[in-house]
Protein backbone atom coordinates (compact mmCIF):
# COMPACT_ATOMS: atom_id res chain seq x y z
CA UNK A 1 0.00 0.00 0.00
CA UNK A 2 1.23 3.48 -0.87
CA UNK A 3 1.89 5.87 2.00
CA UNK A 4 -0.10 9.09 2.33
CA UNK A 5 -1.81 11.38 4.79
CA UNK A 6 -5.56 11.07 5.08
CA UNK A 7 -7.87 14.06 5.14
CA UNK A 8 -11.61 13.70 5.58
CA UNK A 9 -13.44 16.75 4.31
CA UNK A 10 -16.11 18.01 6.72
CA UNK A 11 -17.61 20.54 4.30
CA UNK A 12 -17.46 21.11 0.56
CA UNK A 13 -15.66 24.45 0.99
CA UNK A 14 -13.05 22.75 3.19
CA UNK A 15 -12.47 20.19 0.44
CA UNK A 16 -12.19 22.88 -2.24
CA UNK A 17 -9.82 24.96 -0.11
CA UNK A 18 -7.62 21.91 0.45
CA UNK A 19 -7.54 21.14 -3.27
CA UNK A 20 -6.83 24.76 -4.19
CA UNK A 21 -3.64 24.60 -2.12
CA UNK A 22 -2.53 20.99 -2.42
CA UNK A 23 -4.09 19.65 -5.62
CA UNK A 24 -0.80 18.51 -7.16
CA UNK A 25 -0.14 16.11 -4.27
CA UNK A 26 -3.72 14.96 -3.68
CA UNK A 27 -5.96 12.18 -4.90
CA UNK A 28 -9.65 12.44 -4.13
CA UNK A 29 -11.45 9.35 -2.86
CA UNK A 30 -15.17 8.58 -2.76
CA UNK A 31 -16.32 4.94 -2.92
CA UNK A 32 -12.72 3.84 -3.44
CA UNK A 33 -13.65 0.80 -5.51
CA UNK A 34 -11.13 1.79 -8.21
CA UNK A 35 -8.66 3.96 -6.31
CA UNK A 36 -8.04 1.45 -3.50
CA UNK A 37 -6.81 -1.02 -6.09
CA UNK A 38 -4.53 1.58 -7.69
CA UNK A 39 -3.13 2.53 -4.27
CA UNK A 40 -2.28 -1.09 -3.51
CA UNK A 41 -0.81 -1.88 -6.91
CA UNK A 42 2.94 -2.35 -6.78
CA UNK A 43 3.74 0.31 -9.36
CA UNK A 44 7.28 1.66 -8.85
CA UNK A 45 6.70 4.43 -11.42
CA UNK A 46 4.18 6.12 -9.11
CA UNK A 47 5.28 7.08 -5.59
CA UNK A 48 1.65 7.51 -4.55
CA UNK A 49 -0.19 10.67 -3.52
CA UNK A 50 0.91 12.86 -0.66
CA UNK A 51 -2.68 13.12 0.49
CA UNK A 52 -5.92 11.26 0.12
CA UNK A 53 -8.88 13.62 0.39
CA UNK A 54 -12.01 11.72 1.39
CA UNK A 55 -15.32 13.17 0.22
CA UNK A 56 -17.63 10.51 1.65
CA UNK A 57 -18.60 12.69 4.61
CA UNK A 58 -20.11 15.35 2.32
CA UNK A 59 -23.81 14.52 2.45
CA UNK A 60 -24.58 17.62 0.35
CA UNK A 61 -23.15 15.74 -2.66
CA UNK A 62 -25.50 12.78 -2.21
CA UNK A 63 -28.97 12.21 -3.57
CA UNK A 64 -31.26 12.28 -6.58
CA UNK A 65 -33.79 15.04 -7.06
CA UNK A 66 -36.18 16.40 -9.60
CA UNK A 67 -36.02 20.11 -10.33
CA UNK A 68 -38.70 21.07 -12.85
CA UNK A 69 -37.99 19.17 -16.05
CA UNK A 70 -34.53 18.13 -14.88
CA UNK A 71 -33.10 15.38 -12.74
CA UNK A 72 -29.95 16.11 -10.79
CA UNK A 73 -27.79 13.45 -9.20
CA UNK A 74 -25.19 14.32 -6.58
CA UNK A 75 -21.73 12.96 -7.34
CA UNK A 76 -21.61 10.79 -4.20
CA UNK A 77 -24.85 8.97 -5.04
CA UNK A 78 -24.07 5.25 -5.01
CA UNK A 79 -24.92 2.73 -7.68
CA UNK A 80 -27.32 1.09 -5.22
CA UNK A 81 -29.16 4.40 -4.86
CA UNK A 82 -29.27 4.81 -8.65
CA UNK A 83 -30.54 1.26 -9.11
CA UNK A 84 -33.25 1.64 -6.45
CA UNK A 85 -34.44 5.20 -7.11
CA UNK A 86 -38.18 5.21 -7.98
CA UNK A 87 -37.67 8.48 -9.89
CA UNK A 88 -34.92 7.04 -12.11
CA UNK A 89 -36.75 3.74 -12.57
CA UNK A 90 -39.77 5.67 -13.75
CA UNK A 91 -38.16 8.36 -15.92
CA UNK A 92 -34.85 6.87 -17.12
CA UNK A 93 -34.96 3.12 -16.42
CA UNK A 94 -31.87 2.37 -18.49
CA UNK A 95 -29.73 4.37 -16.07
CA UNK A 96 -30.99 2.32 -13.11
CA UNK A 97 -30.44 -0.86 -15.11
CA UNK A 98 -26.88 0.17 -15.95
CA UNK A 99 -26.15 0.99 -12.31
CA UNK A 100 -27.61 -2.35 -11.23
CA UNK A 101 -25.26 -4.14 -13.63
CA UNK A 102 -22.16 -2.72 -11.91
CA UNK A 103 -20.00 -5.13 -9.89
CA UNK A 104 -21.72 -6.71 -6.92
CA UNK A 105 -23.96 -5.45 -4.09
CA UNK A 106 -20.85 -4.58 -2.08
CA UNK A 107 -19.39 -2.57 -4.97
CA UNK A 108 -22.71 -0.87 -5.72
CA UNK A 109 -23.04 0.11 -2.06
CA UNK A 110 -19.72 1.99 -2.20
CA UNK A 111 -19.10 2.99 -5.82
CA UNK A 112 -20.53 6.38 -6.80
CA UNK A 113 -21.76 7.94 -10.02
CA UNK A 114 -19.15 10.69 -9.63
CA UNK A 115 -16.40 8.11 -9.33
CA UNK A 116 -17.73 6.22 -12.34
CA UNK A 117 -17.59 9.44 -14.39
CA UNK A 118 -14.25 10.81 -13.18
CA UNK A 119 -12.44 7.45 -13.19
CA UNK A 120 -13.51 7.47 -16.86
CA UNK A 121 -13.00 3.81 -17.58
CA UNK A 122 -13.90 3.06 -21.21
CA UNK A 123 -16.15 0.34 -19.77
CA UNK A 124 -17.88 2.45 -17.09
CA UNK A 125 -21.50 1.30 -17.07
CA UNK A 126 -23.34 4.49 -16.18
CA UNK A 127 -21.65 6.49 -18.94
CA UNK A 128 -23.52 5.22 -22.05
CA UNK A 129 -26.97 6.03 -20.59
CA UNK A 130 -25.73 9.39 -19.27
CA UNK A 131 -24.33 10.21 -22.72
CA UNK A 132 -27.61 9.18 -24.35
CA UNK A 133 -29.35 11.57 -21.94
CA UNK A 134 -26.93 14.34 -22.97
CA UNK A 135 -26.02 14.76 -19.33
CA UNK A 136 -24.09 17.76 -18.13
CA UNK A 137 -21.66 17.88 -15.24
CA UNK A 138 -21.25 20.65 -12.69
CA UNK A 139 -17.62 21.07 -11.65
CA UNK A 140 -16.71 23.16 -8.67
CA UNK A 141 -13.51 24.67 -7.34
CA UNK A 142 -12.66 27.41 -4.86
CA UNK A 143 -12.88 29.88 -7.77
CA UNK A 144 -16.45 28.92 -8.66
CA UNK A 145 -18.54 26.53 -10.71
CA UNK A 146 -18.58 25.60 -14.37
CA UNK A 147 -20.77 23.26 -16.39
CA UNK A 148 -19.56 20.99 -19.16
CA UNK A 149 -21.27 18.31 -21.16
CA UNK A 150 -20.28 14.76 -20.27
CA UNK A 151 -18.95 14.38 -23.82
CA UNK A 152 -16.57 17.30 -23.27
CA UNK A 153 -15.54 15.98 -19.89
CA UNK A 154 -14.43 12.57 -21.22
CA UNK A 155 -11.13 13.04 -23.04
CA UNK A 156 -9.70 9.52 -23.20
CA UNK A 157 -9.30 6.27 -21.32
CA UNK A 158 -9.18 7.16 -17.60
CA UNK A 159 -8.79 10.82 -18.59
CA UNK A 160 -11.13 13.77 -18.15
CA UNK A 161 -10.93 17.52 -18.52
CA UNK A 162 -11.58 17.95 -14.78
CA UNK A 163 -8.94 20.33 -13.46
CA UNK A 164 -6.87 19.15 -10.50
CA UNK A 165 -8.38 21.76 -8.20
CA UNK A 166 -11.94 20.80 -9.16
CA UNK A 167 -14.47 18.32 -7.83
CA UNK A 168 -17.43 16.93 -9.74
CA UNK A 169 -20.43 18.15 -7.78
CA UNK A 170 -23.37 16.77 -9.70
CA UNK A 171 -24.61 15.49 -13.01
CA UNK A 172 -27.95 16.56 -14.49
CA UNK A 173 -30.10 16.03 -17.55
CA UNK A 174 -33.53 16.86 -18.99
CA UNK A 175 -36.25 14.35 -18.25
CA UNK A 176 -37.13 12.69 -21.59
CA UNK A 177 -40.71 13.15 -22.75
CA UNK A 178 -43.52 10.62 -22.26
CA UNK A 179 -43.34 7.81 -24.77
CA UNK A 180 -39.54 7.76 -24.90
CA UNK A 181 -38.10 4.24 -25.02
CA UNK A 182 -34.86 3.16 -23.36
CA UNK A 183 -32.57 0.20 -23.34
CA UNK A 184 -29.22 -0.70 -21.79
CA UNK A 185 -27.50 -3.84 -23.06
CA UNK A 186 -24.26 -5.22 -21.71
CA UNK A 187 -22.08 -8.20 -22.39
CA UNK A 188 -19.68 -9.33 -19.69
CA UNK A 189 -17.88 -12.58 -19.01
CA UNK A 190 -20.45 -13.49 -16.38
CA UNK A 191 -23.46 -11.86 -14.74
CA UNK A 192 -22.02 -10.58 -11.49
CA UNK A 193 -18.76 -8.73 -11.01
CA UNK A 194 -18.04 -8.44 -14.66
CA UNK A 195 -16.52 -5.49 -16.39
CA UNK A 196 -18.39 -4.73 -19.60
CA UNK A 197 -16.83 -6.21 -22.72
CA UNK A 198 -19.32 -4.10 -24.64
CA UNK A 199 -22.33 -2.05 -23.68
CA UNK A 200 -24.94 -0.05 -25.53
CA UNK A 201 -27.46 2.51 -24.32
CA UNK A 202 -30.30 3.64 -26.55
CA UNK A 203 -32.88 6.39 -26.08
CA UNK A 204 -35.62 6.63 -28.72
CA UNK A 205 -38.69 8.74 -29.20
CA UNK A 206 -41.13 7.12 -31.57
CA UNK A 207 -44.27 8.47 -33.16
CA UNK A 208 -46.31 5.65 -34.72
CA UNK A 209 -43.22 3.58 -35.29
CA UNK A 210 -41.23 6.45 -36.79
CA UNK A 211 -38.06 7.50 -34.98
CA UNK A 212 -38.10 11.10 -33.82
CA UNK A 213 -35.04 11.46 -31.67
CA UNK A 214 -32.42 8.70 -31.41
CA UNK A 215 -29.46 8.61 -29.05
CA UNK A 216 -27.05 5.71 -29.25
CA UNK A 217 -24.00 5.44 -26.98
CA UNK A 218 -21.49 2.63 -26.63
CA UNK A 219 -19.20 1.56 -23.80
CA UNK A 220 -16.00 -0.51 -23.89
CA UNK A 221 -15.86 -0.05 -27.65
CA UNK A 222 -13.80 3.15 -27.97
CA UNK A 223 -11.18 5.04 -25.93
CA UNK A 224 -14.03 6.28 -23.78
CA UNK A 225 -17.76 5.79 -23.74
CA UNK A 226 -19.19 7.79 -26.64
CA UNK A 227 -22.26 8.54 -28.73
CA UNK A 228 -22.39 7.40 -32.34
CA UNK A 229 -23.86 10.41 -34.19
CA UNK A 230 -23.87 8.70 -37.61
CA UNK A 231 -26.06 5.93 -36.24
CA UNK A 232 -28.40 8.46 -34.63
CA UNK A 233 -28.73 10.38 -37.91
CA UNK A 234 -29.36 7.17 -39.82
CA UNK A 235 -32.21 6.28 -37.47
CA UNK A 236 -33.97 9.61 -37.27
CA UNK A 237 -37.05 9.77 -39.48
CA UNK A 238 -37.07 6.03 -40.27
CA UNK A 239 -39.72 3.48 -39.42
CA UNK A 240 -38.10 1.22 -36.86
CA UNK A 241 -38.27 -2.44 -37.77
CA UNK A 242 -35.90 -5.40 -37.60
CA UNK A 243 -34.17 -4.48 -40.85
CA UNK A 244 -33.56 -0.88 -39.84
CA UNK A 245 -32.29 -2.04 -36.43
CA UNK A 246 -29.98 -4.50 -38.18
CA UNK A 247 -28.70 -1.78 -40.54
CA UNK A 248 -28.12 0.57 -37.61
CA UNK A 249 -26.18 -2.17 -35.81
CA UNK A 250 -24.05 -2.74 -38.88
CA UNK A 251 -23.35 0.97 -39.17
CA UNK A 252 -22.42 1.17 -35.48
CA UNK A 253 -19.93 -1.68 -35.82
CA UNK A 254 -18.49 -0.10 -38.96
CA UNK A 255 -18.04 3.30 -37.32
CA UNK A 256 -16.38 1.80 -34.25
CA UNK A 257 -13.94 -0.25 -36.34
CA UNK A 258 -13.22 2.84 -38.43
CA UNK A 259 -12.04 4.60 -35.28
CA UNK A 260 -10.24 1.76 -33.48
CA UNK A 261 -8.84 -0.02 -36.52
CA UNK A 262 -8.85 -3.80 -36.70
CA UNK A 263 -7.51 -5.34 -33.51
CA UNK A 264 -7.28 -8.83 -32.05
CA UNK A 265 -10.72 -8.31 -30.48
CA UNK A 266 -12.43 -7.02 -33.64
CA UNK A 267 -13.67 -10.39 -34.97
CA UNK A 268 -15.54 -10.74 -31.66
CA UNK A 269 -16.60 -7.16 -31.04
CA UNK A 270 -17.90 -6.39 -34.54
CA UNK A 271 -20.76 -8.93 -34.64
CA UNK A 272 -21.49 -8.54 -30.92
CA UNK A 273 -21.80 -4.77 -31.19
CA UNK A 274 -24.09 -5.15 -34.18
CA UNK A 275 -26.31 -7.54 -32.22
CA UNK A 276 -26.33 -5.37 -29.09
CA UNK A 277 -27.31 -2.24 -31.02
CA UNK A 278 -30.06 -4.13 -32.83
CA UNK A 279 -31.31 -5.63 -29.58
CA UNK A 280 -31.20 -2.26 -27.78
CA UNK A 281 -33.10 -0.53 -30.58
CA UNK A 282 -35.81 -3.17 -30.72
CA UNK A 283 -36.14 -3.19 -26.92
CA UNK A 284 -36.30 0.62 -26.75
CA UNK A 285 -38.76 0.70 -29.63
CA UNK A 286 -41.07 -1.94 -28.18
CA UNK A 287 -44.19 -0.54 -26.49
CA UNK A 288 -43.72 -0.11 -22.71
CA UNK A 289 -40.10 -1.17 -22.97
CA UNK A 290 -38.60 -1.60 -19.53
Amino acid sequence: MKEFDFVRAGTLSEALEFLAVRHTATRVIAGGTDLMITLRRNDPSWPGPGYILDLTGLDCLRGISREGDRIRIGALTTHTQLAESPLLKDKVPFLSAAAFSVGSPQIRNRGTIGGNIINASPAADTLPPLLALEARCRLVSREGERDVSLTELLTGPYRTSLRPQEILKEVYFQIPGEGTGFSFQKVGRRKALSISRLSVAVLLSLVEGQVGKARVAVGAALANAARLPEVEEFLEGRLLDRDVAQEAGKLAAEKVVEITGRRWSTPYKEPVLLALVRRALLAAGAPQSP
Binding site: E3, D5, F6, G31, G57, Q106, N109
Partner: protein, 161 residues
Protein backbone atom coordinates in the same frame (compact mmCIF):
# COMPACT_ATOMS: atom_id res chain seq x y z
CA UNK B 1 2.58 9.64 7.16
CA UNK B 2 0.65 11.10 10.12
CA UNK B 3 -1.55 8.78 12.13
CA UNK B 4 -5.16 9.86 12.09
CA UNK B 5 -7.87 9.79 14.77
CA UNK B 6 -10.62 7.22 14.36
CA UNK B 7 -13.91 6.90 16.16
CA UNK B 8 -16.42 4.27 15.13
CA UNK B 9 -18.68 1.54 16.49
CA UNK B 10 -17.77 -2.07 15.88
CA UNK B 11 -20.21 -4.78 16.92
CA UNK B 12 -21.94 -2.32 19.24
CA UNK B 13 -18.78 -1.11 21.00
CA UNK B 14 -17.49 2.43 20.53
CA UNK B 15 -13.81 2.56 19.69
CA UNK B 16 -11.59 5.63 19.76
CA UNK B 17 -8.03 5.28 18.65
CA UNK B 18 -5.28 6.52 16.35
CA UNK B 19 -4.62 4.60 13.13
CA UNK B 20 -2.14 4.55 10.27
CA UNK B 21 -3.86 6.44 7.45
CA UNK B 22 -3.10 3.87 4.76
CA UNK B 23 -4.73 0.96 6.58
CA UNK B 24 -7.79 -0.63 5.08
CA UNK B 25 -10.83 -1.23 7.26
CA UNK B 26 -10.01 -4.92 6.73
CA UNK B 27 -6.52 -4.52 8.24
CA UNK B 28 -7.85 -2.52 11.17
CA UNK B 29 -10.54 -5.09 12.01
CA UNK B 30 -8.18 -8.06 11.73
CA UNK B 31 -4.88 -6.71 13.03
CA UNK B 32 -5.93 -4.12 15.59
CA UNK B 33 -9.22 -5.54 16.84
CA UNK B 34 -8.33 -9.20 16.18
CA UNK B 35 -11.68 -9.78 14.49
CA UNK B 36 -10.24 -12.49 12.28
CA UNK B 37 -13.65 -13.67 11.12
CA UNK B 38 -13.18 -10.96 8.50
CA UNK B 39 -11.18 -12.77 5.80
CA UNK B 40 -8.94 -11.44 3.08
CA UNK B 41 -9.40 -13.31 -0.17
CA UNK B 42 -8.59 -11.38 -3.32
CA UNK B 43 -7.99 -7.93 -1.86
CA UNK B 44 -9.57 -6.25 -4.91
CA UNK B 45 -13.31 -6.45 -4.21
CA UNK B 46 -14.04 -9.50 -6.34
CA UNK B 47 -14.52 -12.31 -3.82
CA UNK B 48 -16.49 -10.88 -0.88
CA UNK B 49 -14.57 -12.79 1.83
CA UNK B 50 -13.94 -9.48 3.65
CA UNK B 51 -17.62 -8.41 3.61
CA UNK B 52 -18.78 -6.49 6.68
CA UNK B 53 -21.89 -4.42 7.24
CA UNK B 54 -21.15 -0.70 7.41
CA UNK B 55 -24.06 1.61 8.23
CA UNK B 56 -26.51 -1.14 7.32
CA UNK B 57 -24.94 -2.05 3.98
CA UNK B 58 -22.67 -4.88 2.89
CA UNK B 59 -19.27 -3.55 1.81
CA UNK B 60 -15.91 -5.02 0.91
CA UNK B 61 -13.71 -4.00 3.85
CA UNK B 62 -10.67 -4.35 1.57
CA UNK B 63 -11.88 -1.36 -0.45
CA UNK B 64 -12.59 0.99 2.46
CA UNK B 65 -9.80 3.14 3.89
CA UNK B 66 -10.01 2.96 7.65
CA UNK B 67 -10.43 6.75 7.92
CA UNK B 68 -13.52 6.53 5.73
CA UNK B 69 -15.15 4.47 8.48
CA UNK B 70 -15.04 7.44 10.85
CA UNK B 71 -18.40 7.71 12.57
CA UNK B 72 -19.61 4.47 11.01
CA UNK B 73 -21.42 1.59 12.61
CA UNK B 74 -19.65 -1.62 11.58
CA UNK B 75 -20.92 -5.14 12.09
CA UNK B 76 -18.71 -8.20 11.57
CA UNK B 77 -19.56 -11.88 11.83
CA UNK B 78 -18.34 -11.77 15.44
CA UNK B 79 -21.20 -9.40 16.25
CA UNK B 80 -24.01 -11.75 15.22
CA UNK B 81 -24.05 -14.20 18.13
CA UNK B 82 -25.85 -13.06 21.26
CA UNK B 83 -24.96 -14.36 24.75
CA UNK B 84 -22.93 -17.14 23.19
CA UNK B 85 -25.88 -18.28 21.02
CA UNK B 86 -25.42 -18.31 17.26
CA UNK B 87 -27.85 -16.12 15.35
CA UNK B 88 -30.64 -17.97 13.49
CA UNK B 89 -28.82 -17.23 10.23
CA UNK B 90 -25.55 -18.71 11.48
CA UNK B 91 -27.37 -21.78 12.84
CA UNK B 92 -29.14 -22.21 9.51
CA UNK B 93 -25.76 -22.29 7.69
CA UNK B 94 -24.76 -25.18 9.96
CA UNK B 95 -28.11 -26.96 9.65
CA UNK B 96 -27.98 -26.82 5.86
CA UNK B 97 -24.38 -27.94 5.53
CA UNK B 98 -23.58 -24.58 3.96
CA UNK B 99 -20.06 -24.48 5.40
CA UNK B 100 -17.41 -26.39 3.48
CA UNK B 101 -13.85 -25.13 3.94
CA UNK B 102 -15.35 -22.14 5.74
CA UNK B 103 -13.22 -19.37 4.27
CA UNK B 104 -16.05 -17.66 2.38
CA UNK B 105 -18.57 -18.29 5.16
CA UNK B 106 -18.26 -15.08 7.20
CA UNK B 107 -18.59 -13.00 4.03
CA UNK B 108 -21.56 -15.03 2.84
CA UNK B 109 -23.22 -14.71 6.23
CA UNK B 110 -22.70 -10.93 6.29
CA UNK B 111 -24.07 -10.45 2.77
CA UNK B 112 -27.11 -12.54 3.72
CA UNK B 113 -27.47 -10.62 6.99
CA UNK B 114 -27.40 -7.28 5.12
CA UNK B 115 -30.12 -8.56 2.81
CA UNK B 116 -32.33 -9.75 5.68
CA UNK B 117 -31.91 -6.43 7.52
CA UNK B 118 -33.28 -4.63 4.46
CA UNK B 119 -35.73 -7.25 3.25
CA UNK B 120 -36.86 -9.89 5.77
CA UNK B 121 -38.64 -11.99 3.14
CA UNK B 122 -36.47 -12.03 0.02
CA UNK B 123 -37.23 -14.24 -2.97
CA UNK B 124 -34.76 -16.86 -4.17
CA UNK B 125 -33.56 -14.56 -6.92
CA UNK B 126 -33.13 -11.67 -4.46
CA UNK B 127 -31.03 -13.99 -2.29
CA UNK B 128 -28.88 -14.94 -5.27
CA UNK B 129 -28.39 -11.28 -6.21
CA UNK B 130 -27.46 -10.41 -2.63
CA UNK B 131 -24.84 -13.19 -2.61
CA UNK B 132 -23.54 -12.44 -6.11
CA UNK B 133 -20.52 -10.57 -4.75
CA UNK B 134 -19.33 -13.56 -2.73
CA UNK B 135 -17.35 -16.43 -4.20
CA UNK B 136 -17.27 -19.93 -2.74
CA UNK B 137 -14.48 -21.96 -4.27
CA UNK B 138 -15.84 -25.18 -2.78
CA UNK B 139 -18.86 -24.26 -4.94
CA UNK B 140 -21.43 -25.10 -2.30
CA UNK B 141 -23.78 -22.37 -3.47
CA UNK B 142 -26.96 -24.47 -3.35
CA UNK B 143 -26.63 -25.11 0.37
CA UNK B 144 -25.83 -21.47 1.06
CA UNK B 145 -28.95 -20.25 -0.74
CA UNK B 146 -30.93 -23.00 1.04
CA UNK B 147 -29.53 -21.81 4.40
CA UNK B 148 -30.79 -18.28 3.78
CA UNK B 149 -34.16 -19.56 2.58
CA UNK B 150 -34.26 -21.83 5.63
CA UNK B 151 -33.84 -19.02 8.12
CA UNK B 152 -36.64 -17.01 6.48
CA UNK B 153 -39.00 -19.97 6.80
CA UNK B 154 -37.86 -20.77 10.34
CA UNK B 155 -38.15 -17.22 11.62
CA UNK B 156 -41.55 -16.97 9.89
CA UNK B 157 -42.73 -20.23 11.51
CA UNK B 158 -41.38 -19.25 14.96
CA UNK B 159 -43.11 -15.89 14.94
CA UNK B 160 -46.39 -17.58 13.86
CA UNK B 161 -46.30 -19.85 16.92
Amino acid sequence: MKSTPLRLRVNGKTIETMVEPNQRLLDFLRDELRLTGVKEGCGVGECGACTVIMNGQAVNSCLVLVGQANGADVLTVEGLAEDGELSPLQQSFIDHGAVHCGFCTPGMVMSAQALLMKNPKPSRSEIKTALSGNLCRCTGYQQIVAAVEGVIKKVGADSAK
